[in-house]
Amino acid sequence: MGKIAVLTNDLQSDVVDKTPERTAAIAEARPRFLGFLAEMRRRGHGIYHLQLVNLPDDPNVEREPDGTLPLQRGSRGAAIIEDFLDPSDTVVEKNKDSGFYETELHDRLQNDGVDTVLVTGLQTQICVQTTAADAFFRGYNVWVPSDCVVSGNPEDRDRALEWLGGYCATVASSDEILAALDQHGELARKVVKILP
């Protein structure tokens, strides 16, 4: 039986505070989200924070209206928000939506014996969705705690959760996930029929 890891996406002030809707959404999710991370740490599961860093030469990066590049490496806005970060956690830099795209994440998870990932963070319909799909294609058992994913627009989150549950992940609340772990000691892999 492989290990379980929690992946967080983009818990950085440049992302979280980009719009008032996102700030409010993360504030609403924060207590449960922090509690879930703390409980997973207590149970010995690894937390991997995917830190979005924009590269200056990436033509597809969205810049501020004045041309400023947000999420620059080493900047305050790109740092993982302190509340969510524990010294035992791992931070992995990414430069695109999926946390696996040209990053060391897959190698690190493999080295750590991880076969199940719980994908969290924001935004649900972009980075959570693509990271979960990428994890699925790489053979991971993918779960998404529905109360630990955030979108500025709740409809985007709900649509993304429906997509995730339909294609590649088991979607459940953080309480349900913890209960499943209590009961079975592991998280069952979803049977996915869409791929040959």
């Binding site: 597809n60 695109k96 795209y101 319909q125 693509t130 990428d134 040959p196």
Partner: protein, 342 residues
């Protein structure tokens, strides 16, 4: 410049386009890399033998972003795009021109990679590069590399035209749709699909020759390569030109599961997306099975399928029919907001 004169740190500079010594060195590098697919004599025009009474000519520009992707690059697309345009009208592609706009700072290694793709794809398609042009622009005035290819083909059979399509003719796709678009969008944004879904970019003249060799002339009425605007644009073009309704059975559309998954995530309908190695053939009913068998015998057509037919209804619509037999009108998009896919 022979290849021993540049190293990994070499890059394009403005003087490569000045017409002076550096330009000559760049041209030497291009000619050397293209090898035997380059036929030029370094005159101001290529002078070429042409047999037969009619030629096909076409031109296309290529600005694909990113110019280098998982299973190809802009060079491969630039050859395939023009070769396929020549082939689908029934001509045999023979000659291509090659125009390049290079941004200052483009690594020479990248240019060689593009030229190598052009050489290999031209070899596969059996075409020669007969002349070319290179311009260099300042940093920021282009995005790394843009290409233009014009092509000449000769007719060894009657040209294929939209006007030859008749009511009752079958509509056949040579392969899955949407893969090229998903592959490129996934690389642009890092969506996680780029290793599961590859571009379909391929020269399809060999595939068409296989088909033409298996059925009598006239049985394949008309062919289009399904590029920008996707299958929807092709079907609308024929419906409009013929004045007849084209009906497609939605369930038959060949779409790779991961592609469907990505399109669903992105909110895009695969029927509107660009491809670079997919043909839409309009075929006489009597030849349908033989055309399908011929397509499926070729590596670029092994997932060929009939998707619909041209109806006798004198109304220029495209209808999608679902599993339950319900029909809906496929609207043509005003714009797809998916730039630079070729």
């Amino acid at each position: 410049m022979d290849r021993s004169k540049y190293d990994n740190s070499s890059e394009i500079v403005l003087d490569h386009g000045s017409g002076a010594q550096l330009s000559h060195e760049l041209v030497s590098l291009i000619v050397e890399t293209l090898g035997d697919v380059y036929l030029g004599e370094m005159e101001d025009s290529a002078m070429l033998p042409i047999e037969g009474g009619r030629i096909a000519m076409t031109t296309d520009s290529f600005v694909v972003d990113p110019p280098f992707f998982g299973n190809g690059d802009i060079g491969k697309i630039a050859v395939c795009g023009t070769v396929n345009d020549l082939a689908v009208v029934g001509s045999k592609p023979l000659y291509l021109t090659l125009g390049m706009i290079l941004e200052t700072g483009l690594p020479m290694e990248r240019l060689v990679r593009v030229l190598t793709s052009i050489r290999e794809t031209a070899r596969e398609a059996g075409v020669r590069i007969v002349c070319g042009d290179t311009k260099v622009v300042r940093k920021g005035e282009a995005d790394r590399i843009y290409l233009n290819t014009a092509g000449v083909g000769v007719f060894e059979r009657e040209p294929l035209r939209m006007g030859r399509v008749r009511p009752g003719d079958r509509v056949i796709l040579s392969g899955p749709i949407g893969n090229h678009t998903v592959h490129l969008l996934s690389i642009r944004e890092g969506l996680g699909f780029e290793q599961r879904v590859l571009s379909d970019c391929a020269p399809l003249n060999g595939l068409l020759e296989t088909v033409f060799g298996r059925v009598e002339e006239g049985m394949v009425r008309s062919v289009r390569d399904v590029t920008r605007g996707g299958l929807a644009a092709v079907l609308h073009e024929y419906a409009d030109a013929l004045g007849h309704t084209v009906r497609v059975d939605q369930e038959t559309l060949p779409i790779q599961p991961e592609t469907a998954m990505a399109m669903d995530m992105l909110g895009i309908d695969p029927i509107h997306t660009a491809n670079e190695g997919c043909l839409c053939l309009f075929v006489a009913p009597a030849a349908e099975e033989r055309v399908l068998a011929a397509l499926r015998s070729h590596r670029y057509g092994n997932r060929a399928v009939t998707i619909g037919e041209v109806t006798g209804r004198a109304d220029p619509l495209v209808l999608l029919r679902d599993r339950a037999g319900r029909e809906s009108v496929l609207e043509e998009l005003r714009g797809a907001e998916l730039p630079r896919l070729c």
